[in-house]
């Protein structure tokens, strides 16, 4: 099975994994060979077989709804590469140059503190989340 460099770049993007051009080339070859190997599974007819997601036959494992103290804030932030004012700090999510106060599609489709909107993503693309799609 062969895969293209374009596919490798797309998968790297999904995984938020930066790859050098050289790595893209190497992985294109290696992943192709590994996928060629795993294609061996196609020899087996598994239409009537249920998948094993858990080897243990366990279900309904619960916890009590009893609050317990978590981490003190300084400990919660102790490992953070960058923290400020009691928060974890990340590069600003709104792209620079955008008019102030207008959130991005990305942000809107997520949970933003301003909007209090829900963490549901937009529903484009295959295998998307559940939604009230009417089409």
């Amino acid at each position: 099975m062969s895969i293209t460099e374009e596919t490798v770049r797309h998968v790297a993007w999904l995984a938020r994994l930066g790859l050098s051009d050289e790595e893209v080339e190497i992985f294109t070859g290696q992943l192709g060979r590994i996928l060629g190997y795993v294609a061996k599974l196609d020899e087996l007819d598994t239409t009537a077989v249920t998948p094993t997601f858990h080897v243990l036959d366990m279900y309904n494992v619960f916890r009590e709804d009893e609050p317990r103290p978590g981490l003190p804030r300084d400990e919660a932030l102790a490992n953070a590469p960058d923290a400020s004012l009691g928060f974890f700090r990340v590069p600003r999510i709104i792209k620079s140059g955008a008019p102030a106060g207008s959130p991005t599609a990305e942000e809107m489709s997520r949970t933003s503190s301003r909007t209090g909107a829900s963490p549901t993503g937009p529903k484009s693309g295959a295998r998307t989340g559940p939604g009230g799609d009417e089409s």
Binding site: L14, F53, H54, L56, M58, N60, V61, F62, R63, E64, D65, E66, R68, G70, L71, R73, A76, L77, N79, S84, G86, F87, F88, R89, V90, P91, R92, I93, K95, G97, P99, A100, P103, T104, E106, E107, M108, S109, R110, T111, S112, S113, G116, A117, S118, P119, T120, G121, P122, K123, S124, R127, T128, G129, P130, G131, G132, D133, E134, S135
Partner: protein, 480 residues
């Protein structure tokens, strides 16, 4: 036929409700709203390396309660999946949710006699909150608070059965009432414990297919849900009337301009790579558990409305208003079961009580007056201890302080004067000092009588029993 009448809208709602458990869905951190940033976190909800989630049993029970109250079929077997999506508000860069085997499906809510179907109800964990330093584009940072990360959410997705913006609002209000009734969520839109996105498309009446839909976000109130849909439907119709096509996109409601705007930036094609979370085991719900949960569900709004009409004989409109909120309904229920005329109770609640709540913005829980207090007040009025007018004054005080009406009446000396001698004394005084008015009255001017009554009331500080004042005046003026 106008444009709008030739089209109909097709609307579906996606609602996220925070379940009111004490702790988060997969760890023991508290869920209280408004804590200092990153003070309600632990290794599990921070997604530190090596940690594992364990499901809060109460979360399941609350969700089952909601599922049953919304007439859903509960899945015997369901499980949790990972929705993979890197974003700083998700500590693990995936969200634990339910994908192909949700907890419940195929429910419905009755809204003004129409049945709005519910497609599915599933559980998931909430994300953290992002704040942006400053407001200008020059600011370089966003800040992350994980207190909300891991708060339990039920996502309730309707079928596209809703046809009008007001019906969307009514559906949301019904949903909110039901969830509050069963005690699983406080449903405060302003605190984000109830959030709503809508999907809307339009089509010519009579068509059965669907038009291209848009998704609306940034809906922070029931009003915003309704207004944004009104705007968006009109917009889509005019696009079609112009011979153009509706673009499938996500739009945001701009509250200040009252319009919907397309979200800037191209949306990423998402690939969530759902797969069953290997750290969690499946959830199996058997009949015994369902029976147990069913017992936890109190009388729901629609049943209560019917009972109020039947048992208390109040109008359907009153019953609808009173049952929209469980606390208000319980308040009414308690008063009405102890007082001879439930309609009087309804009038007080729908009048003075709701007026006060709206004016102050206080929730029913924050208003200290008790059902016992209101019944006592009504009895004082019936017994003639206070007049109707005084009763309103007393109630105003009760709404603020919660003090018993008898105490207020006593403290402020508001007891009605019914002693005939005392009333005659004042009446005689008023007649004596207003000879001209008396003459007018006796000369046929009926209005003059009202003036005289007013003078008596004024002299007694409004405490005189009005019926007795009337009787006394008439007797003295020889009209009896």
């Amino acid at each position: 036929m106008s444009e709008n009448e030739r089209y109909e809208a097709v609307i579906g709602l996606e609602v996220h409700v925070e379940l009111g458990t004490k702790t988060k869905i997969f760890c023991n951190c508290p869920t209280t709203f408004g804590g200092e940033p990153n003070t309600q976190v632990c290794p599990v909800c921070l997604g530190l390396p090596g940690v594992l989630p364990v499901l809060n049993e109460k979360v399941l029970r609350y969700a089952l309660r909601a599922a049953l109250a919304l007439n859903c079929e509960v899945a015997r077997f369901s499980r949790f999946d990972r929705k993979n999506y890197p974003y700083p508000d998700l500590p693990k860069n995936y969200q634990i949710s339910q994908y192909d085997l949700p907890l419940a499906r195929n429910g419905y809510v009755e809204v003004n006699g129409r049945r709005i179907r519910i497609k599915r109800l599933h559980l998931e964990e909430d994300a953290g909150k992002l704040l942006h330093e400053g407001d200008g584009a020059q600011d370089k940072w966003s800040l992350v608070d994980y207190n909300r990360a891991g708060v339990p959410l039920a996502e309730i997705v309707s079928e596209p059965d809703i046809r009008t913006p007001s019906e969307a609002r009514a559906y949301l209000e019904s949903l909110k009432a039901i969830l509050q009734y069963i005690g699983v969520s406080d449903c405060k839109m302003e605190e984000g414990s109830l959030r709503c996105d809508t999907n809307v498309s339009v089509r010519r009446k009579g068509e059965t297919g669907f038009g291209t839909r848009t998704e609306l976000k940034n809906l922070n109130s029931f009003k915003a849900v309704e207004k944004s849909l009104e705007y968006e439907i009109a917009r889509q119709i005019s696009v079609l009337e112009d011979g153009e096509e509706v673009v499938q996109e996500t739009r945001a409601w701009d509250e200040s301009r009252e319009i919907t705007v397309p979200l800037r930036g191209k949306e990423e094609a998402h690939d969530y790579r759902y797969f069953p979370d290997p750290d969690l085991v499946p959830v199996v719900v058997d009949q015994a558990l369902l029976d147990e949960i069913r017992k936890e569900i109190p009388e729901l709004p629609s049943a209560k409305r019917q009972r109020f009409i039947r048992e208390y004989g109040i109008p359907e409109y009153d019953a609808g208003v009173l049952t929209a909120d469980k606390r208000l309904a319980d308040f009414f229920d308690e008063c009405a079961s102890r007082y001879r005329d439930p309609k009087v109770v309804s009038n007080w609640l729908m009048g003075e009580y709701l007026k006060y709540a709206n004016a102050t913005g206080l929730s029913f829980a924050e208003i200290p007056v008790t059902p016992e207090g209101l019944v006592e007040l009504l009895n004082l009025q019936d017994e003639g201890v206070i007049s109707g007018k005084i009763a309103k004054t007393v109630f105003e005080e009760m709404l603020k302080t919660g003090e018993r009406p008898s105490e207020i009446v006593k403290k402020r000396g508001l007891v009605q004067i019914s002693d005939e001698n005392a009333i005659y004394a004042v009446v005689d005084e008023v007649i004596a000092s207003n000879p001209n008015v008396v003459r007018d009255y006796l000369g046929g001017k009926e209005k003059a009588f009202g003036f005289l009554v007013g003078q008596v009331m004024k002299a007694t500080g409004g405490k005189a029993n009005p019926a007795k004042v009337n009787a006394a005046l008439k007797k003295r003026l020889g009209k009896e």
